[in-house]
Amino acid sequence: MSVILSDISKSYDRVSALDRISFSAESGELFGVIGPDGAGKSTLFRIIASLLVPDKGTCRVSGYDVVTGYREIRRMIGYMPGRFSLYMDLTVEENLAFYARVFGTTIRANFDLVREVYSQIEPFRKRLAGKLSGGMKQKLELSCALIHRPRLLILDEPTTGVDAVSRREFWELLGRIRREGITILVSTPYMDEAVLCDRVAMIHRGNLLDITAPEELKEYNYPLYSLRSKRGAYAYLDKIRNLEGCRSAWLFGDELHVTISSTDEVEGICREVSRWADASLVWKPIPAGIEDRFIELMQ
């Protein structure tokens, strides 16, 4: 089930939230939309889910237009919004049963699909949804979004505020859902989650910066080096930035990532760095990651 966006724009009062976004997600793909808060991720997903009408452009989900074909689309998708949106005053079980009935099915009919995630919250099936912990709410929401066996699953920042262990488990679960033939669109502000997607669209301030498969990221237009030292990378930040030919330098944990403006400048910078008297200093070329690429495209 494919999703095709062409030239989608949307503004709220005169503030542009999305500016001519075009991309397509293939059937069966685990497609990520990555960007910071305010990038336009939720607006984008609400348009795809037929909940918001774009100002310009078209969006087709499995061939149906989101404006004219919304009835068909809504039957085929499962949508998990960024904000918890289940019924707090219904129990876990009642929420799931409600979602199944709204879509004209039963929990039993599609139980296979939700078994894995639902089994983790089943011991609490009599508890009110409002009384669940964050991780359990997230699992219930996913169960409810899946119970009618959608062909497209739209997840808006499902892992925000969730700890590293639960995040990892959630992504493993998404991999298995995809193997059931369900196309997945997922957004996240965390760059490290991009590598778990087949392809990602990077967006920032309503603009599409790039679409890429994580393994294709080696294509970076500039030489990229890493600097590490026992004295701490921060001690070298200003020094590096002041070198001629340094395009940018940023902290990446305990190292610096240094982008050099052209291959011609590499030798000069390497020579300069080798003069710095610090036996613990490690300076070496590295492949670019998704965050390097995102930063480069933002500048």
Binding site: P36, A164, S166, Y190
Partner: protein, 250 residues
């Protein structure tokens, strides 16, 4: 003024119980002057409980705890004067202007008017925010808010600043500028204590402690932890520790 001790925080056998539930189970650790100390753990591991005790907001059940040279049982008010605090969830008043927020916090810490005026000007220039000093916080971008919130948290020159999940959701450049500010603060002698459950933030710390189920499971430099667990990033370290923990409880 007396020089504060080399151990800005000294915790021995900290226990905090809520009824029969043990939120902090005999924590023992020190935070050194000028370091960036990462305090990590999954949701519910007991981070917030310990943080509240260190900030003088709640009493421990037992244990010896000193913060900035003061005892957490008897000198909570002295502690509050010497620390700074910033959280992502709440840090600035949305319906006050940039300038009003600075003056409010500085006033609470009892700084003089003239001093506040001078420092405010200096700070706004540094942050390139002079133009928007009279805009409401509500109307400025998240990245600016975070930088401003951090600057305000250290405006009264605390000995140590506590950052409670500080950088979620911002773009990768803003986030790095934020960490540059943190490094700069440590160069000026401020110790930084960061709680987070985002492991990439842990990579920026001098040392990290990892909590699980009320106990500290590891406390080392990120490099040493990665080496010990033979993995390339802190996320993997965390997963290995957390999963080991789970298996032990099965």
């Amino acid at each position: 003024m007396n020089r504060p001790p080399e151990h800005i925080i000294e915790v021995r056998d900290l226990v905090k119980r809520f009824g029969s539930f043990v939120a902090n189970d005999h924590l023992t650790f020190s935070v050194f002057r000028g370091e960036i100390f990462g305090f990590l753990g999954a949701n519910g591991a007991g981070k917030t409980t310990a943080l509240r005790i260190l900030c003088g907001l709640s009493y421990p059940t037992s244990g010896e705890i000193m913060v900035a040279g003061h005892n957490v049982y008897r000198e909570r008010e002295s502690i509050k004067r010497k620390i700074g605090y910033m959280s992502q969830k709440f840090s600035l008043y949305e319906d006050l202007t940039v300038s009003e927020n600075i003056r409010l916090y500085a006033g609470i810490y009892g700084l003089g008017r003239k001093y506040i005026r001078e420092r405010e000007k200096q700070l706004l220039e540094q942050l390139n925010l002079s133009e928007i000093r009279d805009r409401l916080i509500r109307s400025i971008p998240l990245g600016w808010k975070q930088k401003l919130a951090f600057s305000i948290a250290i405006f009264h020159r605390p000995v140590i600043v506590f950052l409670d999940e500080p950088t979620g959701g911002v773009d990768p450049i803003t986030r790095r500028q934020f960490w540059e500010m943190i490094h700069q603060a440590t160069k000026e002698g401020i110790t930084v204590f960061v709680t987070t459950h985002y492991m990439d933030e842990a990579e920026y710390c001098s040392r990290v402690s990892i909590m699980a189920e009320g106990r500290i499971e590891a406390l080392e430099t990120p490099a040493a932890l990665k080496e010990k667990f033979e993995v390339s990033n802190m996320n993997e370290v965390f997963l290995k520790l957390a999963r080991r923990e789970k298996e032990q409880h099965r």
